[in-house]
């Protein structure tokens, strides 16, 4: 069963315990100055953004059909059936195409290391593997971040909007964005105010490149035959010309004979 996170911004009090738990889980430093940073980085995998009395979390969306995994030439990024998108630093060669391609700009890079790694939230894959919820969900005091089965969380989110339509904008972010994500967001203000793209395609982005890539084998065969054919035709003329030059009489006779 695919797991997911449901973050309900209306329940969030901005205590940033999720940030602290995330840092501890990933053995990253956490103090007041890190807490004040409102941007994801190589040392901060999730952030709680504050705008007046409104909050919004950012973390890896763990797409159902992840763009990063599709673009990685060496398969360093993979989607686990349980939901997390994990990264294998030993495979990575550092091309950073994942950073270019991610529609949420989640992957970050260790620019100042000599053997840099891509860093991002991995939805606590190691905890999910042993049946535990993510660190952020476990440490959320208000239940704003909830861990569970994706289908159940979608039903839950729909119920919350139905029960309290005035409290939410009618949009479960992550339900259909780029084919759906394992992180679902609810909010009382438009997601665009917190920098989320409101206009993402409902189709998974990997299709955009796959529809080109999938034609390559056909193209190679077709191209080979076409070019070989052109070579054959263009050089055939020359062969005929050469033969005519060498033995003009018999060739002409032969052709005339053919006509009769």
């Amino acid at each position: 069963m695919s797991k997911a996170l449901l973050y309900d911004a209306t329940l969030c009090i901005g205590c940033k315990r999720c940030e602290e738990a995330c840092a501890a889980q990933n053995r990253l430093p956490y103090n007041d100055s890190v807490a004040a940073e409102e941007k994801q980085s190589e040392h901060k995998f999730t952030v709680v953004m504050t705008k007046g009395d409104k909050f919004m979390r950012r973390l890896c969306m763990s797409c159902q059909d992840p763009t990063c995994a599709s673009v990685c030439p060496v398969g360093a990024l993979t989607k686990a059936p349980a939901g997390p998108v994990t990264y294998d630093a030993n495979r990575c060669m550092g091309c950073r195409y994942c950073m270019i391609a991610c529609p949420f700009s989640v992957p970050k890079y260790e620019w100042n290391r000599l053997a840099p790694k891509v860093r991002k939230c991995n939805m606590c894959a190691e905890r999910i593997a042993v049946g535990k919820p993510t660190a952020c969900a476990e440490n959320c005091p208000t239940g704003a971040t909830k861990f569970g089965d994706r289908d159940a969380l979608i039903a839950d989110a729909q119920q919350r909007i139905r029960d309290n339509p005035g409290n939410y904008i009618n949009h479960i972010y992550g339900l259909t964005e780029v084919g759906g994500t394992s992180v679902l967001l609810l909010s009382s203000v438009p997601f665009g105010e917190f920098g989320y793209h409101d206009d993402l395609s409902r189709d998974p982005l990997p299709m955009l490149t796959y529809q080109v890539l999938s034609r390559i084998p056909d193209f190679v065969v077709l191209g080979g035959v076409l070019l070989g054919g052109i070579w054959w035709i263009t050089h055939r003329r020359e062969e005929v010309a050469a033969a005519e030059a060498r033995a003009p009489e018999p060739v002409r006779e032969c052709c005339e004979g053919g006509k009769q």
Binding site: V74, G94, R96, W111, R113, P116, L208, T209, I216
Partner: protein, 392 residues
């Protein structure tokens, strides 16, 4: 001419020294210290210029080998070698640039055993590897002739046509795949440059640049290396260039029109200015010039037009890879001196290697006097063989 040579002799050691210094910083302190790249802007000029433009400028290789060996346009035979040389050097230098840009360059071989055929980057990796190999083989007769190694020469000649076909297919895939790389970023790349036709645009423009580079190289070589200027051949290339540019231009503007982006091009702004700079250099000016008979038939006019085309499509690649991403990244990117000096040193190395090759290898026809008579008449024995088999 003398002044330029002196200037070049002064500039060259400076460029190489700056490049070496930047190289030390790159490998001793990492990408953070040696570039202005950031999480918002992960690809800079080492990708946008060195790789995208490097591959594009190498396009003369497949364009000319296809014209001569596949389409059998014999009069272009004399200018095939310099274009194959440029392509081979171009690809070698692209590989060098990748060693700077990759975060873990020592893992560059990973795509050989870790495969993800759903990734455009995987296709790019294989095209770079395979086409560099093909180019090395296409280039090898020049070296083999120089040292008069007849046996391997015979082997290469025997597989030349399949080799050229492989080269043309790999190039087509590689040129277009560099455009396909950006298909995955519909919400990030500015609509002037994002298009589902990106692979087609990259391929067509590569052909245009391949032709322009051939004109450019031949003119430069005539000027500095004393090779003979093959004006009638260049005039013909100029005419083909007009057609390719026209087709590209129509497609580019049809695409902008159908995606409703054309009206954006009249709104003043950073992207608009760079868009029109690109379009003027790559399409408007060269088309105006080349459509005039007296320009198209003069060496100077052809040279100027080809320089404009090359600059215009360099602007295009930089726009796709850098300008087009600045708005969505919310930041401006300008390369650090270390990035510029690595690129500068790579270009300098390219020019120097080209010069050395021209000096010591039979690149231009005048220097191929000792080369065997088969070069220009390789079709004849084959023709005889085919005829005898056909028995007609």
């Amino acid at each position: 001419m003398k002044i330029k040579f002196t200037f070049w002799k002064l500039l060259f050691p400076f460029l190489i020294a700056a490049g070496l210094w930047a190289t030390i910083i790159r490998y001793a302190e990492g990408l953070g210290a040696s570039t202005h790249l950031s999480d918002q802007f992960p690809w800079g000029i080492w990708i946008g210029f060195d790789v995208l433009c490097g591959v594009m400028l190498a396009a003369g290789g497949f364009t000319l080998t296809a014209a001569v060996h596949i389409f059998n346009i014999k009069r272009m035979h004399s200018i095939v070698r310099p274009t194959v040389l440029t392509a081979f050097l171009g690809y070698l230098l692209v590989c060098v640039a990748l060693m700077y840009d990759l975060g873990k360059p020592y893992n560059i071989w990973h795509p050989l055993i870790m495969r993800n055929p759903h990734s455009v980057m995987f296709e790019v990796a294989y095209c770079v590897m395979l086409y560099t190999t093909v180019l090395a083989l296409e280039f090898s007769p020049i070296v083999l002739e120089r040292f008069n190694l007849q046996k391997p020469l015979k082997v290469i000649r025997a597989i030349l046509i399949p080799l050229v076909i492989c080269g043309v297919i790999l190039s087509t895939l590689h040129q277009s795949s560099l455009g396909s790389l950006y298909l995955i970023t519909p919400e990030k790349l500015h609509p002037f440059w994002y298009s589902p036709l990106l692979p087609m645009f990259f391929f067509l423009s590569a052909i245009a640049v391949g032709l322009a580079m051939t004109i450019f190289e031949s003119s430069m070589s005539a000027k500095y290396f004393g090779s003979q200027l093959e004006l009638p051949t260049l005039q013909e290339l100029g005419r083909v260039l007009v057609v390719v540019l026209a087709v590209y231009g129509v497609l580019r503007f049809e695409d902008l029109f159908h995606r409703g982006t054309l009206k954006l091009s009249l709104q003043p702004g950073y992207e608009t200015y760079l868009f029109w700079l690109e379009i003027s250099l790559s399409l408007i000016l060269p088309l105006i010039l080349l459509l005039q008979r007296n320009v198209r038939s003069s060496a100077g006019g052809l040279y100027l037009s080809s320089v404009l085309v090359v600059l215009g499509f360099i602007a295009n690649r930089m726009n796709v890879s850098i300008t087009g991403f600045e708005r969505s990244a919310g930041t401006h990117y300008f390369p650090k001196w270390t990035e510029l000096s690595v690129s500068g040193a790579i270009i300098a190395a390219g020019f120097a290697l080209f010069g050395l090759a021209v000096k010591y290898l039979p690149i231009f026809p005048e220097r191929r006097r000792e080369a065997d008579p088969q070069i220009n008449g390789s079709a004849e024995p084959a023709a005889a063989a085919v005829l005898s088999h056909a028995g007609d």
